[in-house]
Symmetry: C2
Subunit: 337 residues, 2 copies
DNA sequence: CCTGGCACTCACTGGTCCCGAGTGCCAAGT
DNA sequence: ACTTGGCACTCGGGACCAGTGAGTGCCAGG
């Protein structure tokens, strides 16, 4: 249906529109790209492309702009991921390697992504459900209160205050701690519920009530709100010009953890990079944006997802390249620690 | 210099402009407020107010709008803090009380402030330098790596990986842990450096090198970047209409932890609420915004600061009331835990 | 010191005109 | 059958202009 030249025209339109943010006409197309045909020919091609829904004109007698469908074709078939130079890769690597704890890794990843793509960056903390427990700690706060701290092998630290039904002394805390650690250390979080069921049997009947309180909070912490930790950065990269219905809508969506969860949830874990363009996002408020996401973590063990959000008029090759590269390096860093 | 009526006029101008965002003229003033004088009289008053720099007109033959100086006078002398109803206070209290850890308290505080004021909310984590150590934990990651976890009495948890110069076994870790806890538990973080100087003597010479590594990381963690944890929320409340030079500048400033630190640093700890209006903020990028801040924590023990950022055209009575109330309740919640 | 009257200013609105980028279509050329 | 140059047409946007009205400053009189 679409011969080579028509595809080239579509590519050229996308590229020009991305860089200028203005509808692109047949004349300027032949000038800027060395298509060896006349503007009239291009016009015919554009008519076909428009009929098929790949491009549209904002009003008669204006140039064309790509539709979501046009961007989709561009991303799938017409663009090559822009690779990073060796120097850039080194810069990324050293910047991330300078981090000294998980929070810092995530923060740096966000900044990096935002800076590389000049878009809004979204990074999810390593998913609890895919982590394993490295250590469980109980700290006495008062006679009736303990602080439960769970440390995962990805460096994530979750803490909760536990209100105990009865008084606790140091000995029983120590006992409880060792039971918890011996049973849970090294276990994947997904296993925890089943293991926890087994726990009550392993403490003396005197501590039964207290232990139960701790277990229930433990389960709540790890299973309940679980994956809801997402960091956003680079919101200042949003330019009002790109969002006709105002960018407040977009800002709002980006502040809702729940929305972001849904957004990242739609990203395919297996494929390298997922691109969702415009209305493909069923998240209200992000209908006019594109989202480029990737999972990160070592190949055998996906940890979580990250990505960028920007106008559909986005430099996809660069964005995809950056997301892929950052996902890879962040995964590496976390695998090492 | 300014008699009562002129002050009333200024107050009326501020109130009207805040609610309508349009320059306010003499006629509409006498209509909306029951000033029992003629527009002409008001005009004379306005001329004086303008001469003194409290108001200005965007162009000839338009109404007046307040200047920074005008807002300042309004805030200092003309406005009463808007108190919250009992029902609202209860709602705030229960919303905050539902939090189950420090992160959650801070997150809820941000959301609350943003929602109450319809502005951007900024909340600083309880300052490390004003906290005391509740517990120190060492977790073995590998033969040469420990995870150092410090828990403060405000519920803050800081963690760092320590690369050990030599191998460590479980016994020496246990020893180190107990030394750390016995020496540091209950100490204010500000005391830590001096106490730490004393620590090396208390471990056997065999562990000396390892202990030194842990201590140095400990100091770095607690003293180094220290207070740089600030959360921002409600950015979608920024309306482009309020910022003539574009709100990207504002968004940028709000993403820079360093900038926010400086901003909050200028807030007076002792007084209840600090208001900085427009150009009073020497932070570039926030020159066209006002910042309302307060310290929170129990009376005898300030923990950190929080506040809101919005256009100078802000509803100060409400904002000040909300910041004050939220600061109080958040302080209470944290004092209890 | 307040007030009504009056002349003046000036942003804003809507109408008109014109320009030009861009289009669609067609007939001729390869 | 595709490509091309030519040509008439469309329409958004900028320039220009006049009318309107909200608002002002000033002044003379209460």
């Amino acid at each position: 249906m679409l011969d080579d030249r028509k595809l080239a025209v579509l590519r050229a339109i996308v590229e020009d529109f991305v860089s200028t943010n203005e509808p692109v006409g047949s004349k300027s197309l032949v000038d800027r790209h060395h298509l060896d045909v006349s503007p009239a020919t291009i016009r015919n091609d554009m008519a076909v492309l428009e009929e098929q829904g790949y491009i549209t004109q904002p009003h008669t007698s204006a140039g064309r702009i790509p539709t979501d469908k046009g961007y989709r074709l561009f991303v799938d078939k017409l663009s090559a991921i822009k690779p990073f130079s060796a120097a850039e890769r080194r810069a990324i690597e050293t910047f991330l390697a300078g981090a000294y704890d998980l929070d810092d890794v995530v923060m740096r990843t966000v900044r990096l992504l935002a800076q590389l793509t000049r878009q809004v960056a979204v990074v999810q903390y390593p998913s609890l459900s895919k982590s394993a427990i490295r250590h469980v700690e109980l700290v006495t706060l008062s006679r009736r209160k303990l602080l439960l701290v769970v440390i995962t092998d990805t460096g994530r630290v979750e803490q909760r205050v536990v209100e105990m039904p009865g008084d606790v002394d140091e000995d029983s805390v120590t006992g409880l701690r060792s039971v918890l650690n011996s049973c849970l250390c090294g276990r994947a979080l997904s296993e925890v519920p089943s293991v926890a069921a087994d726990l009550p049997r392993r403490v003396g009947p005197a501590q039964h009530a207290n232990a139960a309180a701790v277990f229930s909070v433990l389960l709540e912490t790890l299973v309940g709100r679980s994956d809801e930790k997402i960091v956003v950065g680079g919101a200042s990269n949003l330019t009002p010009a790109d969002f006709s219905q105002g960018l407040n809508e977009v800002l709002e969506a980006l502040e809702e953890q729940v929305v972001l969860m849904r957004l990242l949830g739609q990203c395919d874990e297996r494929s390298l990079v997922t691109v969702r363009i415009g209305a493909e996002n069923d998240v209200q408020g992000l209908r006019s944006t594109s989202v480029v996401t990737a999972g990160y973590g070592s190949a055998d063990r996906p940890l979580a997802k990250l990505g960028v959000v920007g106008p559909t008029r986005m430099d996809y090759p660069t964005a995809i390249g950056a997301v892929r590269a950052v996902a890879r390096y962040t995964g590496q860093i976390l695998a090492e620690s």
